[in-house]
Amino acid sequence: MIISVRSISYDELKRNLSHDDKIVLWSCDTCVKHCGIAGMDKMIVLEDLLREDGYNVIKKELVSESCQINLAKKHRAAHTDIFDQATAIIVLTCEIGYQCVKTVFNDKKVIETAKTFGAGNFSNKKGPILTSPIPSTNLEIDPEGYTLNNLVERFNLHPKFFDADKEPNPEKVTITVDGKPLVVKKNATLLDELLANRMKIPHLCYDASLGAIGACRMCLVKIEGKRGFVPSCSTIIEENMVVTTEDEELEELRKSVLQMILAESGPEIQQSRDIRFWMRRYKLTDNKFYLDEKDEPVDDSSEVLIRDPNRCILCGKCVRACTELSGQRVFNFANRGSKTLAITGLNESFGNTDCAHCLACAHYCPTNAITPKSINKKIVGYPFWTLISYPKKVAPKR
């Protein structure tokens, strides 16, 4: 992965902006995100900061791989109405991503926020490590690699994201969750806030980067005054809301829905992280529901990705990631009812489609139905990027 560090302070950023600007936040969803300075959550933080200071943010655009200029072009084309209004674009990407955005939006003020040092990898202990610095950095190749902190200190850059410079202070409201008061962000998604407060709510089809569709029915909660059970992923917080996230009935219901999902898919999905977590938590060992096991051929026609339809739970994350984050629309749904399928292209082999290989689909797939080929297929159960293991020591140069 590419290693980048924040290059400007929040004050410097503001100096580049005027209060009349119509601002678009643009973020890449790959390497820089793992460097901690981009992604949907960071855009939300920055939006909060700018709003508080009286700036006008008109759009947050998440791009699966901003360094692919094609994807940048497609994103502009998909929302010309809004982009045409924009006067400033703040890009949370590496330098290569910035160059692409600058080229595509050569009519606008494009503000760079990161400095890029070269390629590296991700260590579970230390986070991103720079191992192959680009020559212009004048860095020696160090067998231990450079952590982000090393780089911040050495180059006198800015640690972490803009909220390290100034704490955002968005408007808050109080709600009641499981009998206790909880202070949460106003107008936020209920599930986001519950998760942010370290509550465990199962959710398979929701991701803040992709938005809610309410398909998996795992995140159901009870809300006073609302009929029945409501998916917390599709609920906007209202002041004084009274929410129940855990009781016997909810647990039974979530268990049943999980069992349904397990019954429909092949047994392999039980190894994926989220499913396994909830199976353990609910102590599910057998399934009261039974359906014939899926037996679809695995599609390995793509150069980069393997797709195993038997693991698909139709959460639609790949469809949304491909449509919204990459702009390619390689994935879609076909058929209806119990015959519904996720397909690639016009139901053709993955290799035949115009996949941009941005890996967004694989990144968001909760059941590893789509995985990059570079990953050892035997290690299943974790989103692939946490798996990428790197040698502790680079062999000394000869």
Partner: protein
């Protein structure tokens, strides 16, 4: 009825119903035959293509009306009858006729009047009164019978007054849920913003329901008028009529109606000089049951996959292209037009305390007179099935009626005193639904019926939410097991459990109500499930795995017609001796039983045929 409608320009009109149902019954051929006959006789008669009046058991019918003569309806007409009918009619001989149309029709040779018939006089044709009388393709005829008067009135008054009148009429949505129309309209009207939409829901995907199609094919302007009133009331300038492409004639009539209305100034800019602008688009849907659901319909119109989305926000707040949108069933809209024309008082005088007005029902299945009938809300089931539809065919008895299609439930015969209004039906586990009534008799298996409806919802849902997609499939496969004789007693509990999950967890009403056919058959016909599971027996002789064909040696003459007809050569024997069915080969298609000239082949319940046969033979000896 105004004279110009009854007799037309020439003073002699022959009405031929041109709706999908009557055309299927042969109305096209009848029409051609009439044209040929009139030409050969050189008669100056106007042929009027009209819609369907709901009496499907007399399709195709024709009606002859000449000045100085009564209006006479002829039933089940075939092309070769036409010459005779016209001659007899002009001779004032009505012996082969079905009925006189109007109350004041009299003649020296009187026959029964429509109004004296049970099937007619038990109905209140408030909404469908013009169906089968006026030409649906003629806007002039609609205007002559009072059409667009309601719109004219509404355009002159404040939209709040319109809402107030609907409130007084207490009109509830006819699309299934029975939500008060005025509340929906009021919410939408109060939303800020200039751009709003109205949509007429003519998807009608449930098996056994066809009143929306009938209305669109027979009186399309009434729907448009209601839609324009809706648009004016909430402040919309654009409307859609969402019709299935499988109803091409309905779509064609609606399109023609819209064109004519535009030409006459009822649609388009500055409607009737009021300054109000409104236009509509007839949207042809690719057709799936789930498209009837409001949010799925909106997605379909937006060009997306017809997946429902989580509500709230309700469409009245955030609907089509995120703008406030109201969606109403076409029958609801036709009611609006009629209420505004005739006055809410008349509407509110019909029906029950809580639910006013009339409702159209489509009665199909085991009754003598199938058709679409309109009765006041709250009419007992019995009255509709027995008085109007004539009860079961001879030799059969009605066992239950399935109300509201796949989202509804069945009501057993001993509860037929139940009034058909939203609340009573709900308490019985059924729903009013759109108005489909499938009547079941003792040759229908309730387990098999539940299996059918679940196969329908499993195939016709959107497939988006896990509880709906997997739940319907689990239920269907369990029911399939039971009807195949492989059911276990635990399956009943399993079905209840799946149903509970679906009711609680599903995204839209399709999934939340899909288990109703199973739950109501549990409630009223649990014994049938036990029979299938424990005794491997299907009393109604429907489930193939649980029956066998058997040759009655007392009746069989050994003609071997059955052996020749058998598609799998499972029947053998010699001429003159009793034929024998090889049950290991038999696929239970029933061809032999149907073809046997001596009724010697019978269906017998149970899996182990040889035993049951032996028992019978023992008894005889």
């Amino acid at each position: 009825m105004p004279e110009e409608i009854v007799y037309g320009k020439t003073g002699f009109r022959i009405r031929v119903p041109m709706a999908s149902c009557t055309i299927a019954a042969g109305a096209n051929e009848v029409l051609q035959s009439i044209q040929a006959c009139l030409e050969s006789k050189n008669l100056d008669v106007e042929i009027v293509p009209v819609g369907c009046m709901g009496l499907d058991f007399i399709d195709p019918w024709i009606e002859l009306t000449k000045k100085g003569y009564p209006s006479v309806i002829y039933a089940n007409v075939t092309p070769d009858m036409i010459d005779q009918i016209i001659l007899e009619y002009l001779d004032r001989d009505y012996s082969s006729a079905f009925a006189f149309r109007y109350e004041n029709d009299t003649d020296e040779n009187p026959i029964q009047k429509l109004d004296e018939m049970e099937v007619w006089n038990n109905q209140v044709r408030w909404l469908s009164g013009k169906c089968g009388i006026i030409n649906p393709d003629s806007i002039d005829e609609y205007v002559t019978v009072g059409g667009y008067q309601g719109l004219k009135k509404c355009l002159k008054q404040d939209p709040d007054e319109t809402i107030e009148e609907l409130k007084k009429a207490n009109l509830r949505g006819r699309g299934g849920a029975g939500f008060p129309t005025y509340i929906k309209w009021n919410i939408c009207k109060q939303q800020p913003g200039e751009v709003k939409y109205v949509i007429a829901n003519c998807d009608e995907g449930d098996p056994g329901a066809f009143m929306n199609r009938l209305l669109a094919e027979s009186d399309p302007h009434r729907i448009l008028e209601g839609l324009i009133i809706a648009g004016h009331t909430i402040g919309a300038n654009k409307g859609f009529v969402f019709v299935r492409a499988e109803k091409p004639l309905a779509a064609k009539r609606l399109l023609k109606a819209a064109e004519d209305a535009r030409e006459k100034g009822f649609l388009g800019g500055n409607i009737m000089g009021s300054g109000y602008c409104f236009d509509i688009e007839v949207f042809l849907s690719a057709g799936a049951f789930v498209c009837g659901e409001e949010t799925a319909m909106i997605a379909a119109i937006q060009g997306e996959r017809a997946n429902p989305i989580q509500r709230p926000p309700f469409p009245a707040v955030k609907g089509l292209w995120d703008m406030p949108t109201i969606i109403n069933n076409v029958e609801t809209l036709a009611h609006v037009a009629t209420i505004m024309t005739e006055g809410w008082e008349k509407f509110a005088a019909l029906g029950t305390e809580k639910s006013k007005g009339t409702k159209m029902y489509c009665v199909t299945g085991a009754v003598q007179r199938t058709g679409a009938y309109e009765v006041p809300v709250g009419t007992p089931i019995k009255k509709l099935l027995y008085d109007i539809a004539g009860g079961p065919p001879e030799g059969k008895s009605i066992k239950a009626v399935q109300l509201g299609g796949p989202s509804g439930g069945c009501v057993p015969a001993d509860m037929f005193d139940l009034p058909m209004d939203y609340d009573s039906l709900q308490s019985a586990g059924a729903i009013m639904g759109s108005g489909g009534m499938v009547v079941l008799d003792n040759t229908n298996c309730m387990v098999d019926m539940a299996r059918f409806f679940l196969s329908f919802t499993a195939a016709e849902s959107c497939g988006k939410c896990s509880a709906g997609r997997i739940g319907t499939r689990l239920m269907y496969e369990t029911l399939k097991r039971i009807t195949n004789g492989e059911g276990k007693i635990d399956d009943i509990e399993l079905l209840e459990e799946i149903s509970d999950v679906m009711q609680k967890a599903c995204l839209c009403a399709l999934g939340r109500t899909a288990s109703n056919p199973v739950l109501t058959t549990f409630r009223y016909f649990k014994q049938e499930y036990f029979d299938h599971i424990n005794n491997k027996k299907c009393e109604a002789l429907v489930c193939k795995a649980l029956l066998n064909y058997h040759v009655d040696s007392n009746k069989c003459k050994g003609c071997l017609v059955c052996a020749k007809s058998c598609p799998v050569e499972a029947i053998s024997g010699q001429k003159g001796t009793t034929a024998k069915i090889d049950l290991s080969k038999c696929i239970k298609c029933g061809t032999c039983a149907e073809i046997c000239p001596f009724d010697a082949i019978q269906k017998l319940p149970g899996r182990v045929p040889d035993e049951s046969v032996k028992v019978e033979e023992d008894c005889c000896k």
